[in-house]
Symmetry: C2
Subunit: 119 residues, 2 copies
DNA sequence: CTAACGTATGAATATATATTCATTCGTTTG
DNA sequence: CAAACGAATGAATATATATTCATACGTTAG
């Protein structure tokens, strides 16, 4: 699956470890996308939004009140979540109603919850 | 499982949604710990370190060379990972050899990889 | 058409974060 | 004991990030 890269530099101690580790490295693009994805989940406000939207759809205003933050802050975060396809929206009159777009990400959230509870 | 909180404020539109959403909210402490945990995984360098240490132990120097970054940068990140019990170390002469301390977290990494690949 | 409402947005601010540099510490080796 | 090495650390810096404020936009109601 992963291509083997030969390590050029000769370090003083055990070369082999570095060579093997280098060869096993994730492609940079995967690393970046992974980090990006986890970073999105690494913010309390965004977690609250995603969790609030599980099994429910809510307009911006209600989200803001539910979470207890300003409308603008929520809107900015929704913009980001929208960008990563984690939420979608539908317009109804003046309201914009958000819901989850990616059920898959909930698995990560749940697994995260498991992790912080069982340890 | 979760205690129901009654919402006081009367918003113009549908109160019920907010009440229910508020009642279903995660405890603040859970939210914080979840976010904290994901934030740790939300950095390319830390992902590289954790991934490099899967199935292998490496000293700081080799980690730095494997990843292609300065010793100090790696050391700072290891400090953080150590703080969250994601890595452990053992000393061998002048070297400090790190390994994973929490195999559980690898599940999250893998699941993350699945997620970015199948979507 | 105008006012009111819900939302989006840009700028500003405060804060957090990662990396580098210089230095120190501890261990080993000559 | 002194020099060399690997690692840790603190300060400094650069950069990213979240939130607030003010305002603009679009829709609806009067």
């Amino acid at each position: 699956m992963e291509e083997i890269i030969v390590c050029e530099k000769n370090c003083n101690h055990d070369d082999k470890a570095v060579c093997i580790a280098k060869g096993a490295m994730l492609p940079e693009s995967d690393v970046q996308r992974l980090a990006e994805m986890f970073k999105i989940l690494g913010d309390p406000t965004r977690i609250k939004i995603l969790h609030a939207l599980t099994g429910r759809e809510l307009c911006v205003c209600d989200l803001a009140e539910t979470i207890g933050m300003g409308q603008s802050a929520i809107s900015h975060q929704l913009r980001m979540l929208k960008g990563y396809r984690l939420v979608k929206y539908r317009k109804e009159g003046k309201e914009v109603i958000y819901s989850l777009d990616d059920a898959h990400i909930l698995g990560l959230l749940c697994m995260g919850l498991d992790h912080i509870n069982h340890s």
